[in-house]
Symmetry: C2
Subunit: 418 residues, 2 copies
């Protein structure tokens, strides 16, 4: 008994959108302990959708569809599924009323094409959509087979999943034996170096340990299968403890922790504050820090000193040093960090100045060269130099710069108090 995810939409085949729905559903299925071995993407094409459907019915007991429930003519999922099982569509008056009410609330007029969204296969139940206009269905077209459909809009799909599909699946007996995972997160070590250090753990069977890497962050996923979350945690805990010990300060957090949330917790523990002075990241470091709810407790603000004039006027950077060393240099990074810490009266000041590219680089200061300044509570200032390489694009250089700035602050906070 396994589930299968089928995402319908020519926009996915054309590459117009990223398939975030498959990832969300995959995580949710794992949490419920529902095995899931295949994901398929197919276009808004009835005959190919039917081929996929035929294959999926043979190998899986739960088929989860996303996409193709919208009001436009290329939205064909519901009618194609009904046609495959030879069942007629019935117009549901209460769905039309619900759609009309939603349009009225938003001060918009319901359009004729929305009527299509009220057609449901005979015998299927409506899977309500509280946020949007397209409802889904829960349907048993034949014994042992369950079909769930969701719109492609991620926020609508996710809420429908949580509010209706999860209780339904639990009612069917799923979620008894669960797969529970913790994802350990590392910064400042490469994937193969970490993998070599913890190689012996990859042979474990319960829990299992598997490495992943993306955008400079390396992760180890530790997964256990057990009747309850509590028992799974008992299986996982000793392994997690050993992995953390081996990795030392390169380990920064678990699951939904981010470098920013971990820094926030450390600042909160220390009752300290931080401000930022950003050049090449243009606000990205502040944005990461404030992505964390409650960050106003320790983040007071910052100065985006994109132009040299602003570096001088608002951060107190010396004009003569800008002329002498250039904006991307150790002295300027240091003066930016000290300047923002002093102007905003915070315990820590973090600065970033670098060459994000694609232009602006030269032989001595190539694209990817970044200086990070860190003004500390004891009035000292440190500087870290990175060369992220000419191969990295603008977005990567900016992302890595902000992450390394957070990571350096994190390491200093750890040293200070632990």
């Amino acid at each position: 008994m396994s589930a299968e995810i089928i995402c319908v939409g020519t926009e996915l085949l054309l590459g117009d959108i990223l398939n975030t729905n498959a990832q969300f559903l995959a995580l949710e299925l794992a949490d419920l302990g529902i095995p899931h071995y295949y994901q398929t993407v197919v276009g808004d094409n009835p005959s190919r959708l039917k081929q996929v459907l035929a294959m999926a019915c043979d190998r899986s007991a739960i088929l989860i569809f996303t996409g193709g429930l919208g009001p436009t003519p290329d939205d064909l999922t519901t009618e194609t599924i009904a046609d495959f099982f030879g069942v007629p569509l019935i117009e549901q008056v209460d769905i039309i009323e619900d759609i009309a009410r939603k349009f009225a609330q938003r001060g918009r007029q319901m359009t004729a094409n929305n009527h299509k969204q009220a057609l449901i296969p005979e015998g299927a139940k409506v899977l309500p959509n509280p946020k949007g206009t397209a409802p889904g269905i829960i349907w048993h077209p034949r014994p042992g087979l369950t079909i769930l459909t969701f719109p492609g809009v991620p926020s609508e799909m996710q809420r429908m999943w949580r509010e209706t599909a999860v209780p339904y699946l639990k009612g069917q007996g799923w979620g008894q034996q669960i797969i529970y995972s913790q994802t350990l997160r590392f910064w400042g070590i490469g994937e193969s170096a970490l993998a070599e250090k913890v190689a012996s753990f990859f042979d474990l069977t319960n829990p299992t340990v598997a490495p992943y890497a993306s955008q400079g962050e390396v992760r180890l996923r530790v997964s256990a299968r057990a009747p309850s979350q509590g028992e799974a945690i008992q299986v996982i805990e000793p392994v997690v403890k050993q992995l953390r010990q081996i990795a030392g300060a390169d380990y920064f957090g678990v699951d939904t922790d981010t470098l920013a949330s971990v820094v926030g917790q450390l600042l909160t523990d220390a009752n300290q504050t931080v401000s930022v002075a950003e050049s090449c990241t243009g606000g990205g470091l502040g944005s990461m820090l404030t992505a964390v709810p409650g960050s106003s407790d320790y983040f007071l603000g910052g100065i985006i000193s994109y132009s040299n004039d602003v570096k001088v006027s608002l951060l107190g950077v010396k004009s003569s040093d800008l002329d002498k060393w250039g904006a991307v240099s150790k002295p300027i990074a240091q003066q930016m960090a000290l300047g923002v810490r002093s102007r905003l009266t915070t315990d820590w000041g973090v600065s970033i100045t670098g060459i994000a590219g694609p232009g602006g680089g030269n032989e001595s200061k190539p694209v990817g060269l970044v200086y990070i300044g860190l003004a500390t509570p004891d009035d000292r200032v440190e500087c870290f130099k990175y060369n992220f390489g000419r191969d990295r694009d603008r977005a990567s250089v900016r992302h890595w710069s902000a992450c390394y700035a957070l990571d350096q602050l994190r390491r200093r906070l750890l040293e200070q108090y632990h």
Copy 2:
């Protein structure tokens, strides 16, 4: 003759990572005019991978694999494919030398598990990986069937695709009849409202017109099939012109245009500058503006005034008004915009103050309430109030706030000069 994308990795089935590779390859196949009807995700499991392989060989002529080429024991793609076709793996000495060289350059030691990455099926060609250690293959295991493999790391895969796979596929005759698309982008109108306005265009066959929506942005993709890009553009142009006329100012750009890049172009045309004062977005607006290469020509910087003290000390917001109206209010948004424009001496000043949630809201000022201030070159200041709704999460409120701030600036710039 069509291609098929097969992404291998239990991490995809577990939901650990987002499948960006499928989107990248989908866009590239469309550009080359190679039809592509299915994408499959399957785990690091030899028997299921072989099932997928068997099915894909029957219906597609080009199989593109990503993932499972790494150094760890769960990386099984190459050996499973070789085993499926009954061909032995051969160790390639030059690959080992290449890997060793790369490790040396990075000042790291090559690890024993990297040797696995040098095994290639007999008869296959190496698809070089200039960035990473895992090479792919180009292989014709039987007549009329081509297999290409890539590592799962997106930056490595993309470079290998562009540098080796694309020239190879063009050499095989692909890229003659192409699909060329333009994606028109809209802000400030809902998907169904726009769809209703342009409904008659959805029946066209060459070019085709299809609508998509995500995170507040609506897009229309206009695609033509033709022997050359020039001829495709001729097919597309009159349709694009009509769609733009119908949408008016809700249309903001095409293809890779972003609200920020369009604002940047308008500022450049007008020879004007902008600065930002950010509260709830914490730097996100500045980060969006500076994501555009060359933004230093018109973006001078900003002040992240997350705390009220910073609003007063660095932006000149009146303490008494903060007490009277609260930080999330029209007077404060206006003073922030005027303050940053004056402090940074720019033509425009844009401010954002709002309640991003999940905490901090109340009856009169709910989560999702956002004020955007716009200080104009003629010393006036405007204010726009939004209520993004309690249903939206912190990330969405912040994203929409920054986008609407850019959109208001864009509309004022358009009115000023066009």
